[in-house]
Amino acid sequence: MSTVKIELRKDQIEKIHEFCDEFNNEHGELINVLHKTQQAFGYLPAEVQEVIADKMRLPVAKVYGVVTFYSFFTMIPKGEFPVSICTGTACYVRGAENVLSEFKKQLDIEVGETSADGRFSLSCLRCVGACGLAPVVLVGEKTYGRVAPDDVKEIIEEYRS
């Protein structure tokens, strides 16, 4: 449940309406609309879901049901530098858990959280398909391969400065 109440600007609402219209407001395209909207807003807060539901003439509960089913959709804004740790099997057996706990320690946040300054958020993902580089860490679009717990500090520093 989102705790922060946000107010959407008119142009933002229009933008969401555009996305819905682009897919003809077809109920079957809900997931595509959500993808497009999340791409534009970075996340899918309750208010945005309500606008989509209203426009597409769907119950809000249903939109929320879909959003909460898929792990790709998030209702929490990500940090400026979203850190994702691959916990696919290949990475797991090559020590991803230790890398993850080091990130938790260094950033002082749990998985799914964003640091207080809004700069870093931490998430896990399942296999980016770069198993040859296991364990793999993504910061934004950039991939770091064969990451050891000792490398974590350095990676974070890269973005702190």
Binding site: I13, A46, E47, Q49, A53, P59
Partner: protein, 591 residues
């Protein structure tokens, strides 16, 4: 039709193609236990997600067990419903379900009437292995004016979701999250109060556990009854008398009107009245409004809106206020019988017996949960004092009666008190789908044509079809009538009106399947639609048994207008018996 032969537990069964294994087993007397499955045949309500897996059976040649509720028979199938493999699997699955369910049976509202409890008893569960360290799902308790959601007790049978979405198209509830955290909830897991919920209570009516229950007001009623300074007046809705007996082991469809009145008097209510009286009053007001709109329409008045829609059902009122606010001027402005009764009781009757408004407590016994919300609406109170103080369901009344050591089945009959206890057969049939419009037709016909009806039975208006229509000849004037029960069906009619395609002059809408007899506050039908049919039958029997069959012939109604209200749609009637509607939809993003 193609028939299929199969073997279930060594017994040969022949059933039509498309039959499920579960139903085929029933044919030979094998009752496979089911939990999430629900099939209200004739009403097109079916819930078989195949989720609980309790009904799993072994089918020869298949690798895994199959859910009998949703597996169709095939030729030569060999089914075992009681092999050790099945029994072990069923028990283990049941233990799993219970491992994530609070063990609060003693204080649970559903105790003794709970499908999950029954299953635990049937399967002889004595112990949940590993319960000490099993994580259980916990959710915030959600209390609304009508319904309590205690989702810790949810077993994800999805029946409520089916009722709320497929049948009612309300869309308040949906499965959210996934895996162990999956639960049925309103959007953003907010409270029901902030959702489009209409409080129709159909989710409660089908919930197999104590996850969804009504807000219990019996304690308030007991308190009022024990207060010597209060005059406590009770009104009972028509559908209650057709179902209350079930709570006392009587056959569904047993009429218990007289016994119920005795019980209420025994409980200490000062006046035991009948909502049916107010139903007759409703017909006077709504019927007059219909004729008024109709004649203006026929005179070519472009401002008049037709069809006129009934407004007795609070679930339905909530529905259009939320989903069709732009059409809120179409329904009749007449208040529901519950509210008309409260209004008259606290004015006309209070004056008559010389009791102050504040000293009078009006309790209503309703088959309905939305009535709890309705009596709390601001527009139905005077200076903070509500016209109806407490609305309790048929189930709550049964609890009250049992608490008082009364056995309904052995009670003698009593009559309702006067004057608000007298009613016509037209009022009784309010309890079944089509009944309100039939009652209105009986009166409107005679008022419009000035002729006396030869037969008051309009059988073309009865039945269980979701949407029905009929044309009634008002002495040369063809009146087109539409009927819908279930809000999904109502939605279809509303969409037609919106699109300008509706040809109806009047439409009756009831939120619940079968009308009030299938209300959210009625004894639980546990998925047996025969019970609903039996209650409907009882309602029409009661109507036939009455000498008085038309609302406008009720002598106490006539007297009420003479002494107090003047005439239907008078200024006073408007003030006390009519209402207006609000747009309920939140507009969060108005810029």
């Amino acid at each position: 039709m193609d028939h299929i032969k199969l073997l279930i537990d060594g017994k040969t069964v022949e059933v039509p193609k498309g039959t499920t294994v579960y139903k085929a087993a029933k044919e030979v007397g094998i009752d496979i236990p089911v939990l999430c499955y629900m099939d209200l045949h004739d009403l097109n309500i079916e819930n078989k997600p195949g989720g609980c897996r309790i009904c799993s059976v072994e089918i020869e040649g298949r690798r895994n067990l199959a859910p009998s509720c949703s597996t169709n028979v095939s030729e030569g199938m060999v089914v075992k419903t009681n092999s050790m493999r099945v029994i072990n699997a069923r028990r283990t699955v049941m233990e799993l379900i219970l491992s994530d369910h609070p063990k609060e049976c003693l204080t649970c509202a559903k105790s003794g009437n709970c499908d999950l409890q029954d299953m635990a008893i049937k399967l002889g569960i004595r112990d949940i292995p590993g319960q000490e360290y099993a994580e259980m799902s916990t959710y915030r308790l959600d209390t609304s004016p009508s319904i309590i959601r205690e989702m810790d007790k949810c077993i994800m049978c999805r029946r409520c979701e089916t009722m709320c979405n497929d049948f009612q198209t309300v869309g308040a509830l949906n499965a959210v999250n996934r895996g162990f955290n999956a639960v049925v909830a309103p959007a953003f897991e907010m409270n029901l109060e902030h959702s489009p919920c209409t409080y129709c209570g159909q989710c409660v009516a089908v919930c197999p556990t104590g996850a969804l229950t009504e807000v219990d007001h019996t304690a308030n009623v007991i308190q009022a009854l024990s207060d010597p300074n209060k005059t406590v007046v009770v009104q009972t809705a028509p559908a209650v008398r057709a179902a209350l007996g079930e709570e006392f082991g009587m056959e569904p469809g047993t009429r218990v009107t007289g016994k119920m009145v005795s019980a209420l008097k025994n409980l200490g209510f000062d006046y035991v009245f009948d909502t049916d009286f107010a139903a007759d009053l409703t017909i006077m007001e709504e019927g007059t409004e219909l004729l008024d709109r109709l004649s203006r329409h026929l005179d070519g008045d472009k401002d008049v809106q037709l069809p006129i829609l009934t407004s007795c059902c609070p679930g339905w009122v909530n529905f259009f206020e939320y989903h069709f606010p732009e059409m809120k001027d179409i329904p009749s402005t007449a208040r529901s019988p519950q509210q008309m009764f409260g209004s008259i009781a606290k004015t006309y009757f209070a004056e008559k017996i010389g009791v102050k408004r504040e000293e009078m407590v009006v309790v209503s016994i309703m088959p309905c949960l939305a009535k709890k919300y309705e009596c709390q609406r601001d527009e139905f109170s005077v200076d903070g004092n509500p016209d109806v103080d407490f609305s309790i369901s048929t189930r709550e009344l049964a609890h009250l009666i049992k608490q008082a050591n009364l056995d309904l089945s052995t009670m003698t009959d009593s009559e309702f008190d006067s004057p608000l206890g007298e009613s016509s057969g037209a009022a009784v049939i309010f309890g079944a789908t089509g009944g309100v419009i039939e009652a209105a037709t009986r009166t409107a016909y005679e008022l419009q044509t000035g002729k006396t009806l030869e037969s008051v039975d309009f059988k073309q208006l009865r039945g269980l079809e979701g949407i029905r229509s009929a044309t009634v000849d008002f002495d040369g004037l063809e009146i087109k009538i539409g009927i819908a029960h279930g809000l999904g069906n109502a939605r279809k009619l509303l969409e037609e009106i919106k699109a300008g395609r509706s040809e109806f002059h009047a439409i009756e809408i009831m939120a619940c399947p079968g009308g009030c007899i299938g209300g959210g506050g009625q004894p639980l039908h546990h998925g047996n639609s025969d019970i609903l049919k039996a209650r409907t039958r009882a309602i029409y029997e009661e109507d036939e048994a009455k000498t008085l069959r038309k609302s406008h012939e009720n002598p106490y109604i006539i007297k009420l207008y003479e002494e107090f209200l003047d005439q239907p749609m008078s200024e006073k009637a408007h003030k006390l018996l009519h209402t207006h509607y609000f747009e309920r939809k939140r507009k969060v993003f108005e810029v």
